[in-house]
Symmetry: C3
């Protein structure tokens, strides 16, 4: 039950929202070995000026910012997380979103911290 | 100081926003034993297509998605968390929101991670 | 790579958004010793009724709510966090936002939980 929260420019969401959704989802399936039906994404679209960033931090050439926050259970090792990052970057690059423009962050919780339509029994 | 973040369809928020707010709040008071004045909620409303989900994941019949993220201090045991989930599901069902349509997630932090109008002294 | 997420009234964002951005950023630079180019902020603006709060919780006089969520690596001690809170409150008070109206919350993750334009090598 990862919950994926994407903050991006409204114009980008209108142009590529569906492909971004598909790309991130496939990356989680491939990178984490996630069940393909385990899909929860929230897109938050923004007017100019609402997403603020430095163009050069971390030695990249950042022209816009697509923030992808992933809330997921604490169960993946570092290698798996990096594989997921690389999968996301690769999938989104295929549809024209530069890796430099991505900010991906992970927050972890426990199995007992989710209710997905019913209680765990 | 739980902070409750609700992402839902704009049309649902317009129709039932106030009742959803009251229902979730009462559930936290009852389920966590929370101080009734400890109320911080942010509603983020969405256009069609911004909330993406699989209709059948986890063996439920999901028709829309109401995401409720709760950021709270790490101090509640599993039983208490499940009681809170059940309270939220019950309260929202009373106003016509199906438990199947809920995605509730908890993120935890510490007492020192909050500033609510003033520093802790 | 703190990621700062600000939820506030749309009218306040229109009036003071840029100054709020600058004030919070400077507070993180001063309070955490953060690299000035390490700037990632997302503003989420809200219509009346979308931000719900109790006016008196925690013994303050709350008239509106500006929620500032900071996702950052687990590496700062309590004293540093409180210094950051105080810096944010001071900077925003200088532009007319009352400390009583702030809700600041911290969520922590690890170094391996970030991808900022490229993988860590």
């Amino acid at each position: 039950m990862p919950l994926v929260q994407i903050d991006l420019d409204r114009s980008l969401a209108e142009r590529l929202g569906e492909q971004i959704s598909d790309g991130i989802h496939q990356a989680l399936v491939d990178g984490l070995g996630m069940d393909p039906t385990d899909k929860f994404q929230i897109f938050r679209t923004h007017a100019p000026g609402e997403i603020v960033f430095d163009p050069g931090y971390n030695g990249v050439d950042r022209r816009q910012l697509v923030s992808i926050q992933i809330l997921m259970v604490h169960m993946y090792d570092v290698t798996t997380k990096y594989a997921m990052f690389d999968q996301i970057a690769k999938r989104l690059e295929e549809i024209g979103i530069r890796p430099d423009d991505l900010l991906i962050s992970i927050v972890e919780n426990g199995f007992e911290d989710w209710y997905a339509g019913k209680s765990r029994s």
